[in-house]
């Protein structure tokens, strides 16, 4: 039974080489992340110091409906004349819901931003992780803590060659409807 939405943990890390009207952005950049169905959106704080290379390192949480195909990332700048959009990037769901990569994998992703004219305007760096759905609550506490998950309980002489015990139940069990 599939849930009708999945929770995404999106960390907005940084952006590079942002320009407004051909000039480098001085300050006050922020990022809005929203679903392509416009059902939800979240915004970071404003970065006052980074200028054209802002850093937020801020985690945003979005519920992505099952039928959603992408999330939209927009970079804005608060200027004296109001909030202006510097650039937008579309993150297809296929980039963080891979066929082979397990759910819960921390995807570090980067995208080209394009302004309203379609011109290239910088790069946005984010990380995306899908949270485990509530019904598999027994495994939901193990959000990819690497050092102890899924390794043989008893000693194995060969490294990684044998069958691994302790693989959480939800791997691959969830039907993807994308």
């Amino acid at each position: 039974m599939a849930a009708n939405s999945r929770t995404l943990e999106i960390k907005v890390i940084s952006a590079e080489n942002l320009k407004l009207d051909r000039k480098s952005v001085k300050k006050n950049a922020s990022v809005t992340v929203r679903t392509d169905t416009n059902s939800q959106f979240c915004t970071t704080d404003i970065d006052t110091e980074g200028g054209a290379y802002p850093r937020w390192n801020e985690k945003l949480v979005l519920d992505l409906p099952t039928h959603s195909k992408s999330i939209i990332v927009e970079v804005h700048c608060k200027t004296s004349s109001g909030v202006r959009t510097i650039g937008t990037a579309t993150v297809p769901a296929s980039d963080f819901v891979g066929e082979y990569v397990p759910e819960g994998y921390l995807h570090f992703l980067s995208y080209r931003l394009r302004n309203h004219k379609g011109e290239r305007n910088g790069i946005i760096n984010i990380s995306v992780r899908m949270k485990v759905p509530e019904m598999y609550a027994c495994a939901s506490s193990t959000t990819w803590s690497h050092s102890t998950m899924g390794f043989p309980a008893a000693g194995n002489k060969s490294f990684g060659g044998g069958v691994v015990t302790g693989v959480p139940v939800w791997y691959g069990a969830y039907q993807k409807n994308y």
Binding site: P102, R112, A154, K157, G172
Partner: protein
């Protein structure tokens, strides 16, 4: 591209303050290398490319060659060079009257990931008087030979507790009926500590040193040395036109700054593209002082030094610490010895431009006298190093651009001719499959990497479901120019956030300039056709040229980067070395020929 202009952008980059290369030398200077030279290179941002290891020894059931007492054994360690000559690395002390000795004296060995380091250990019974005589001066010809063992240094490092037990043999490997006993070698990294600090600096009210604009400040941090001078350990990037700059966080390893109380000199300069950077101000603080500044959220003033002591001019400009965080940094050896693996995969170019394999001019010509062609050389050089880090030595091997038995051109076919399984065993297995494929697959074209990269990415991604201690290395050997650069870029971008590194070796005489774009060393991150940008630079490209004997191979240059790429992936994903329950495991005794 030699030109008249310096690389100003390069000059503005941060140096030394990012995640240090995994192969940090020993700061304690055991005399194995020159302190001054090491500091010189570090100040210029270049790191010596090895990790210092200390080998310690114990043995059991040694031969008893003394008549009235037991043997007095000592170990001598040699490195076997490519030409077969032995270079002595060091000796242990002599232990009196003991067939099961545990030596105290350690021998230093520089661990170089990118080469196969053959070590020979010889145990001698010291018969001459060794009291008060430096062990180094003992003439081995006067001593009795007790046994010899050998192994490759990476074999020790990949062992779980970094210990390897060797069965000793007679000289020249002859065992005979005698039991020579065993020798156990244990390796430890000699790095002082695994601690590092990440600091984000900011300045306010800096003086303006530029005429028509504002200063372009950067910081240079130096460590004071005993003689009173200071050695630079890192510098930040340049922030243009800003008297209140914030720089990207610096990561300093304890090896770089010594101890938290060691005074550091922090200088702020105004960058000038002609190289004459003007000092804006300087100050002296230790890491502990900087931590205090962070906690109290206070600033400290810069000053201008003056020739008259006590008359330094205190400036308005201040330094703040906006972030201060201590981290634990594990080394490459930490991961490898805890059970992490490097898994090797190979893809060979079967396009027509290589030339008919039956003709001697062909890049695929297999010489009956055994001289390796460029493909075989690349496979051997990379495979021989990486095989030690791959637990099951089972390597997927593919060809691309060839017409297989069913008549169609494939851009990812199994080299072993098997329809479903792509894996072969050992470097010999790759060579055999390669030779076999040359007989059964017709060279065709065009040159496309995309499918092979996608296959490798798929394998790397799948492995994440069961564990995350595997890192994959794909070697692509090609003679030509890519037909579809964008498709390859797309595949590489999609693979860029997976535990995968791609080494591309160019053979033959083609103009490989296009391949250098894939390498992204000039800072241009790869961009896919969908607007996604590569998370990290996972590709390295090098053209293979004929190598004169004695020179370092260019392929080694590729391999040198691997530990760094491995570490940057593990650290960014916050993956730590595995902690096995060591008590439950016994180190298996290894029979070495």
């Amino acid at each position: 591209m030699g030109g008249c202009f310096s690389d100003v952008r390069g000059g503005k980059e941060a140096v030394g303050g990012d995640l240090p290369r995994p192969t940090e030398p020993n700061a304690n200077n055991d005399g194995a290398h020159n302190d001054a030279i090491e500091f010189f290179y570090r100040a210029h941002g270049a790191y010596p490319l090895f990790t210092q290891l200390e080998l310690s020894f114990s043995a059991s059931k040694l031969l008893d060659l003394d008549v009235t007492s037991k043997s007095d054994p000592m170990v001598v360690v040699y490195l076997k060079k490519n030409d077969g000559k032995l270079e002595e690395l060091g000796r242990t002390e002599v232990i009196l009257n003991n067939l099961n000795p545990v030596w105290i004296q350690k021998v230093s060995a520089a661990y170089q990931f990118e080469t196969v380091q053959n070590l020979i250990f010889r145990v001698y019974d010291v018969d001459t008087q060794y009291h008060n005589v430096p062990v180094k001066t003992l003439n081995l010809r006067d001593q009795e030979f007790l046994g010899e063992g050998s192994c490759v240094l990476s074999e020790i490092v990949t062992k779980q507790n970094r210990s390897l037990t060797l069965t000793l043999k007679g000289k020249n490997g002859h065992g005979g009926l005698r039991n020579f006993g065993t020798l156990t070698v244990h390796a430890e990294e000699t790095i002082a500590s695994r601690s590092a600090v990440e600091i984000k600096f900011r300045c306010a009210h800096l003086d303006n040193k530029d005429l028509f604009s504002k200063s372009d400040p950067f910081l240079r941090i130096s460590r004071t040395v005993e003689t009173g001078g200071s050695i630079p350990i890192c510098k930040t990037e340049v922030v243009d036109n800003n008297l209140n700059p914030t720089w990207k966080p610096l990561c300093l390893n304890m090896q770089q700054f010594g101890s938290k109380d060691n005074p550091l000199v922090i200088e702020c300069f105004d960058f000038n593209s002609d190289g004459n950077h003007i000092l804006i101000g300087k100050l002296q603080k230790s890491i502990a002082d900087l931590e205090k500044l962070f906690k109290e959220k206070s600033g400290v003033n810069f000053f201008i030094p003056s020739s008259r002591a006590g008359h330094e001019k205190v400036l308005k400009g201040q330094l703040f610490v906006d972030q201060f965080c201590e981290k634990e940094q594990f080394s490459f050896v930490d991961y490898i010895s805890s059970g992490f693996e490097l898994n090797f995969m190979v893809a060979v170019d079967f396009t027509g431009s290589n030339g008919d394999p039956r003709k001697p001019e062909s890049l695929h010509y297999i010489d009956p006298y055994g001289r390796l062609n460029s493909y075989q050389q690349a496979i051997t050089e990379v495979g021989q190093v990486i095989q030690f880090y791959d637990a099951d030595k089972s390597f997927p091997a593919w060809g691309f651009g060839g017409r297989t038995a069913n008549g169609t051109v494939s851009h990812c076919f199994n080299l072993n001719g098997n329809a479903s399984e792509s894996e072969v065993v050992g470097v010999e297995g790759i060579m055999a499959a390669y030779a076999n494929a040359l007989r059964n697959v017709a060279l065709s074209g065009p040159t496309l990497f995309g499918q092979v990269v996608n296959r490798a990415a798929e394998i790397a991604a799948r492995s994440l479901s069961s564990n995350n201690n595997k890192y994959y290395v794909l070697l692509i050997i090609t003679d030509g120019i890519l037909t579809d650069l964008q498709e390859t870029k797309d595949a590489l971008v999609r693979a860029s956030n997976l535990p995968l590194s791609i080494l591309i070796v160019g053979v033959g005489n083609a103009d490989f300039k296009q391949m250098e774009i894939l390498d992204a060393d000039n800072g241009q991150r790869l961009e896919s056709s969908t607007g996604r940008i590569a998370t990290r630079d996972i590709v390295q490209f090098v053209p293979m040229r004929d190598v004169q004997s004695g020179q370092i191979s260019v392929v080694q240059g590729l391999l040198e980067e691997l530990p760094g790429q491995f570490l940057s992936y593990m650290r960014s994903m916050d993956i730590k070395p595995l902690t096995f329950n060591a008590a439950a495991q016994a180190s298996p005794a290894l029979e070495i020929l």
